[in-house]
Symmetry: none
Subunit: 208 residues, 4 copies
Amino acid sequence: MASPSTDMRRQPRHARGQRRVEAILRAATAVFDAQGFEAATTNAIARRARASIGSLYQFFPNKEAILQAVVNRHREELNALFASLLTADNLRQPTAVIVERVLSGAAAFIAGHAGFGRIFWHSSASPRLAAIAAQLDDEIVARVEAGFAVRYPRLSRPRRRLHATVSVAMLKALLALADAASRANRPRIMAETQTILAQYLDQIDRSA
Amino acid sequence: MASPSTDMRRQPRHARGQRRVEAILRAATAVFDAQGFEAATTNAIARRARASIGSLYQFFPNKEAILQAVVNRHREELNALFASLLTADNLRQPTAVIVERVLSGAAAFIAGHAGFGRIFWHSSASPRLAAIAAQLDDEIVARVEAGFAVRYPRLSRPRRRLHATVSVAMLKALLALADAASRANRPRIMAETQTILAQYLDQIDRSA
Amino acid sequence: MASPSTDMRRQPRHARGQRRVEAILRAATAVFDAQGFEAATTNAIARRARASIGSLYQFFPNKEAILQAVVNRHREELNALFASLLTADNLRQPTAVIVERVLSGAAAFIAGHAGFGRIFWHSSASPRLAAIAAQLDDEIVARVEAGFAVRYPRLSRPRRRLHATVSVAMLKALLALADAASRANRPRIMAETQTILAQYLDQIDRSA
Amino acid sequence: MASPSTDMRRQPRHARGQRRVEAILRAATAVFDAQGFEAATTNAIARRARASIGSLYQFFPNKEAILQAVVNRHREELNALFASLLTADNLRQPTAVIVERVLSGAAAFIAGHAGFGRIFWHSSASPRLAAIAAQLDDEIVARVEAGFAVRYPRLSRPRRRLHATVSVAMLKALLALADAASRANRPRIMAETQTILAQYLDQIDRSA
DNA sequence: AATGAATGAGAATTCATTCAT
DNA sequence: AATGAATGAATTCTCATTCAT
């Protein structure tokens, strides 16, 4: 039963340890991004973090735990981001405004967390990781769902969930597309994304 | 640079060899689907195909070549499918009809090719495979683009490409979502997809 | 006990078979020369001979047998060569003349049998092949020994053998050196060889 | 072109690692000697060194690197040996003395480094190894050449090189012969070698 | 805590050889 | 005889993880 935990082995107590873990997570993000999770090597991560492999395993019991930690770290921020974007106040704005804010917020997050985007978008490819990735997805979907509850109070729960799931899927797909696109095309794709999402939300509005 | 070729080592000449390759590709599809490309083992593929590992390597020089062959095999069919969906004739129909046909065609394809869907959706996760996956994407985008040229003749080339890229990205994302969903939710997601795509196309229509 | 025979599996009866074996041996010589015996592949040999691997094994039970056949083929010629060089008549000539004839005979042989030289010189590197190579060595040594018996009749048998062994070792080493040398240096090395061997024989003469 | 490096992966830092590398090289020498390079197995080497295969690969990236390290290790000693044999002082002695010292020095070296002799003599057999073997050859030839420069100052550079090359080739061939010979014959072959080399050097003397 | 050596199961791939057609 | 598919033991090498210092 007890599938090997993906918890950290211990929380670092000293500042030095903090910095170590910090460095390892940064390195891991970069390496996962560049090679993909499976191809990434714990040794490569340690090397990039200028830590010994032994040090790495002092804090993380295995490779998955590193990914988990990377995800956790971004999860909090992502949650905070969505919390700040989906305040009751914001949700009273016209859809175009909401979507605009979400999109620029997301874009800023992606830009500010090099590498994480790709990990997030692709991690479902490796069955071992689907679970970890799903956590994040689920949380974001839940937040969006909560937002919808405020904005579309007449919507049934299942429909709220459906719309939230679909919205997030589209958002992820289009952000990924933008991210992969050339610098020149990126704004065009973002503009399309804006239109598409706004239209989708408006249509929910009408049907609700 | 000359990355090790992903071509087959040889085409089987005897019928026996044909069947072998057949079986290997079927097995590979299943294994890639279940484990992901990186975690999949050539031995596992051979075993599932009831072939010896040596047999597998008679025809394929390496694991990537197997994926390439799997993709090639579906590529033709997928091309044929889109060709049949995007005839000039079909393209004169209302968007709702077009989208409906594309969606049910795609759904049928996915249902009829167990496992391939996931390979397709996820293969960009592993940098080694991005290239292989991109081939398929590009072809589908190109076909859609051609369809748009017929339907929206006033659209500039770059915008056609943009819209095609975005459409395909959404289509893939939403089909993936549907595929991952429970049996009960699937039709609901497909319905949303239908609406979203139709709306997107209609909006192209207006803007063009 | 019965170490797997290195005999040919069968002598080809038809002309076609003759040509096959011919082609295989030529191909094998080239491949052994280019890659070394261990690295050479029976499949590579078959391919170069434009034969199927099955055909190859129709005639030869294993890789060693191919080498053995290659060696055998040259053995006869080499024997004939030395027989013609070491006639009683020739052996009455001054050493310089004898040596000169042997050297030019050997050089011609090497030139006329591209690839064989290297196989011969190096085959002792692979313990599996030492035995096969030794046959050739032994025969040549025996012939030279016989020549010495004629020319230096007062020499004891063991000394004859010693001198023959040493002579052949030097001859092989210096021919190998010449073979590996640049076109420009080759004649210079051959000239040295001539001097050295003549000196050695003259010294035998005196000591005998 | 950049053929995979034959450098060590890392220098061991701990004493334990030192001993490991030590043991691996000793084992490799023995195994290469017994089986030949191609037939030698990294697993066999590790086993003989009582190390795990993983340990071996911690330090060496591949089999060739092991050979390279074996060669390097002896190279230094061999250089030192020849340096000590070919001092200006020694070079003033009669040729017979010089040759005698070189021969006994070489014989002692061979006796003291079981296995290395054969590796050295044969490694040119495998094309992959020619380069590695050539390094040693070149160095020895260079040293002998330098010695000749002192002893035969009137000799032109090309002739010095020629004589050095030829001398070393003979030396290697005859030492190999002695090494392969029976205990009883070895001294006889060494005596012949002594005579031959002394004669060769004397003749250089006269011609210079 | 940190370091880097140690471990060994496991993965990809090769290749001599046999077999079915 | 010829062909080329089939076989699988054997080989090289990797990498997550543990351990000794």
